[in-house]
């Protein structure tokens, strides 16, 4: 061996931070090199947006407040729905790692174990940010006219960031406990599909049957949608801002230690 090896000396916390950066770089490279998935990330939100507006727009606009087009009503809902479904990629990526034996290698290294999960979750935030930007730009092209000022845009970005993190961490748990990628797919689907559809994402909740209406109006995804929608359209945000922040922060605070725990326990016994 010719190379003289030099090792990094630093505190445990800063080494852990360095590990996470290394893993974020890895996961981001995965996203950029997985061309099929990247195309999906680009076209799927556009397709959803255009189809929903074209198919449902005419019928639903009749039930909307005066002067609100279905496009402007839908934007918040479709962004939140796309982010929620986008978080399943975190679960799939983690499940893939666990299946392929590379996690064994990571575990046998003197690295911080949570870094593997951090890498997937944070790189997913980048990817979701990209889809969201694509949707907003396409929305504006086809006639969406948001009323938000600069500060309100920052608040929107903040809420969506918290929401993405919350969902990605929740999905990370699914990715760890599921036994196969197929299992991840149906497991995440049966959680996300009802949550996003039984909400105010696509239609106002007024017309729903009583029990569904109570659920839809109080579940976390509706809080996030309503907060973003109000900021987009210049309506009063009421309590939606705080309830959505509380739900997201709560979910993050709970799911990180759970994810770390199940990850550490997986395959060790």
């Amino acid at each position: 061996m010719k190379t003289k090896l030099e090792f990094v000396e630093a505190s445990k916390a800063s080494l852990a931070f360095r590990d996470s950066l290394i893993m974020i770089k890895r996961s981001s490279r995965h996203i950029l090199r997985n061309i099929d998935q990247l195309l999906g990330t680009f076209f799927q939100p556009i397709m959803f947006l255009v189809l929903f507006v074209a198919v449902f727009g005419g019928a639903i606009e009749l039930g909307l407040p005066e002067g609100v087009s279905y496009l402007s009503f839908l934007m918040a809902g479709i962004i939140v729905q796309t982010v929620a479904f986008g978080s399943t990629t975190t679960a799939i990526a983690i499940c893939n790692d666990l299946q392929k034996g590379i996690v064994d290698r990571f575990r046998s290294l003197p690295m911080n174990n949570l870094a593997v999960l951090n890498g997937h979750v944070i790189s997913d935030v980048f990817r979701n940010g990209f889809s969201t930007a694509v949707m907003i730009i396409v929305g504006i092209i086809i006639g969406f006219r948001p009323q938000a000022n600069f500060v309100e845009w920052l608040v929107i970005a903040g809420i969506l960031l918290l929401f993405t993190l919350a969902f990605s961490w929740l999905m990370a748990i699914m990715g760890i406990i599921a036994k196969s990628v197929e299992a991840v797919q149906w497991l995440t689907f049966i959680i996300i599909f009802p949550l996003t559809f039984a909400s105010s994402a696509f239609v106002p909740t007024e017309g729903m049957p009583w029990a569904l209406k109570v659920f839809a109006e109080n579940q976390p995804i509706t809080q996030v949608i309503e907060a973003v929608r109000a900021l987009f359209l210049g309506f009063p945000v009421e309590n939606y801002l705080w309830t959505s922040v509380a739900w997201c922060v709560g979910a993050i605070v709970l799911s990180i230690p759970i994810a770390a725990y199940v990850y550490r326990k997986k395959n060790v016994n």
């Binding site: 010719k2 190379t3 090896l5 090792f7 990094v8 392929k100 590379i102 990571f106 046998s108 060790v268």
Partner: protein
Amino acid sequence: MADTITVNNLHKSYGKVEVLKGVNFSVKKGTILALLGPNGAGKTTTVRILSTLLSYDKGSVQVGGNDVKKDADKVRSMIGLTGQAAAVDELLTGRENLIMMGRLYRLTHNSAKERAQELLEDFDLVDAADRPAKTYSGGMRRRLDLAVSLIAAPPLIFLDEPTTGLDPRSRLAMWRIIEQLVKDGTTILLTTQYLEEADQLADNIIVIDNGKVIAEGSANQLKSKIGSDRLELTFNTIKVLNNATSVIKAKGLEVDEKELKLSLPIKDTNKDVRGILDKLAKDKIKIDSMGIHKPTLDDVFLSVTGKGKED
């Protein structure tokens, strides 16, 4: 010399299935130990425990003087693991894999980069260095996998069936690499189901079957346990074979009528072979072919487990 690995009375169960039933062994610094056994013997479980990936139920395991349970991080910084499934990142290039793992071993970025280049050269991967690992052949992937384990030059390497599934040429290349590593002072624990591999590489062999160590020693010691060389004679017809059998009448004579073959133990090759050839010549018994069979580890395996190896 000091022991790098000490395993005492190691027990491990998965639910009700007992996989390791009190395994004991130690590995001296700078040597190769081969864990030899059929599929399901407990080899991989042992390696997973030694490399901190798996907990165990009873016993004690020390690696480099550190307890694998209590000082897992210390153990991790001194080992390299090459598992059965080549654990490389398929979407990253060979070079990116090496640099990433090097940095996770706490190497500085520059050290990781330089060392990666050196390993790519040593392992004949320079041309493929900047291609994604998913485009690599099986042999290249194994070489990359082993190179990744060596990125921080750990003093102890675990190789879990390093040549399973490789073609003969890649297997030989892997053997040369392993031999070089030991020359450079690395301690290696290797699992294999190929007796030939253990014979070629290992200083010491532990034969493990059904969660227990059933034999141990150097290849020569194991071979001498099951006795001496044998002279094998083959004949053209069953009649000739029977004639030869009645003429030779030696102790330990084995006759295989289907193969028209007989074999008997010999001690002094010159004297014993000449004696038998003389006897046969006297009765004008014609031999079809003749050979001397030296005991192999296959024989060791058969004699200690009472069954053949499973391939």
